[in-house]
Symmetry: C2
Subunit: 132 residues, 2 copies
């Protein structure tokens, strides 16, 4: 199933603007912010507005097609890769590398204070080769 076929099954309206945003996100490993997306897609759609970018991101988030990352303290970043993985963040330039590795993160019940634990995500910190 191609990416566009997949989106047609989501019951979200596929406007030209949304298709452009989806095209920008498809396979994108840069973990872009809303502004990154806006800037890039604006070239093709000069009238594109932030509202449309945020609206589309919200729709994709609700359909679990993207993840909202809280890695950057000043703005949200988005990840079109929804397969389970972790992130390694450069404390210098804020670049992000995906970490595909399974860790055993089981918590015994005496640690969880009655929570029902449903997921986890590891942030690794470091310096990239450029910033080092």
């Amino acid at each position: 199933m191609t990416t566009m076929e997949r989106y047609r099954h989501l019951n979200i309206k596929l406007t030209p603007q949304r298709i452009a945003i989806l095209g920008y996100l498809d396979g994108n490993k840069s973990h872009p912010s809303a502004e990154d997306i806006y800037k890039s897609v604006s070239r093709e759609f000069p009238t594109m507005s932030f509202a449309t970018v945020y609206n589309t991101l919200e729709a994709l988030k609700n359909k679990e097609q993207i993840l909202e990352l809280k890695i950057d303290p000043s703005k949200k970043r988005y990840d079109p890769d929804t397969t389970p993985h972790h992130h390694l963040i450069c404390t210098g330039c804020r670049s992000i590398v995906d970490i595909y590795k399974n860790f055993n993160l089981d918590l015994s019940e005496d640690l969880t204070d009655g929570f029902d634990v449903t997921g986890s995500h590891i942030e690794f910190f470091g310096k990239c080769s450029t910033c080092r």
Copy 2:
């Protein structure tokens, strides 16, 4: 060494406002936001300003007396507990529980893309007993 003794050794000026903020943070497990701190300390110092709260938090962060948490997408939260630990976040009410457990999170070099890895932090997600 008491908390205040510890702070006197940090070379930050201890004004009454800062002492009030430090008092609020001392032993605080609620992971408060700047606004939480402002609201609470304002009762004692009606002229307290956000600038002072943020200034103090910045100073404490630089002296590694507090951690800035990016757990909440809408605002920063602060943790006066700087001992290594992880966090379990309720996806309903955003309450946070500390997780004191050591995990083996070693990364082989082929995963780190030349990064020098210096630290890590796990976010666990779940529902607290109230929200469940």
